[in-house]
């Protein structure tokens, strides 16, 4: 299935090329978060990690 790998790679390259300008734009225009903002992001992400660990134990 080598052709599937090549098509997947080409699709990913296209996706990266299309997303790159939007990413650069977002980096320039995103407001800076304070440490409490980042903490309010880290708490739910930590909860998601713990939840996935629980799911792995359940399977």
């Amino acid at each position: 299935m080598e052709w599937m790998q090549i098509i997947s790679a080409l699709a990913l390259v296209m996706f990266i090329v299309v997303l790159f300008p939007a990413t650069r734009n977002m980096i320039k225009n995103s407001p800076k978060g304070s440490s409490s903002d980042w903490m309010s992001f880290m708490i739910p992400i930590a909860a998601v990690i713990l939840f996935i660990v629980l799911l792995i134990k359940l399977v």
């Binding site: 996706f15 997303l19 977002m26 320039k28 407001p31 998601v48 792995i56």
Partner: protein
Amino acid sequence: MNQNLSTAAQRSPSAIATNKVLRNTYMLLSLTLLFSGFTAAISMMMNMPPMTYLISVIGAMVIAMFVLPRFANSPAGIGIVFLITGLLGFGLGPMLTMYASLPNGGNIITLSLAGTGAIFMGLSAYVLTTRKDFSFLGGFLMVGFLLVLLAALANIFLQIPAMSLMISAVVIMIMSGFILYDTSRIIHGGETNYVLATIGLYMTIFNIFISLLQILGIMGNDD
């Protein structure tokens, strides 16, 4: 008191508009998820080959990136959202058939589905109750997503299972961040188009589901 009333009267139109966007987004999201489940079931019944996933995802991405933005403000946009989500659901069929054939397959699919639902609802509830503004995450999430795409590109040729597992785990983290970011944008008026809001949230749910399937599929058959 008069001042309070006039402030409330000034705020209410934008608050009503925001609630309308949120309500329409969740309504369309529910319908598209049901439609995806339907097309996935059809694809499973038709016993589609594995390449269906690749073709469907590429087709859906091309439509989402180049066609949807032109029609996002017209009623045709809703039809295009159903086309994209139906295609993605159809592409899931062969993958679900493959997982269902594993010894623990039914359990893996059920847990992935339930886990995706719980993550989405939990994170959405977190943003809706705290009403925090997560707009500062935009650049960070996009850079993270680009790096994951580069890692996935490398792993197409390297074929390292541990790297594949790591990519899936990071994708879940980034998509969780996008749920916070997108929901926060809707409630703070940054996204006023429910068609675009729906497709953004749908993509996060789709990616979390696929990544959970991969993680639980690898970890669940490791005995």
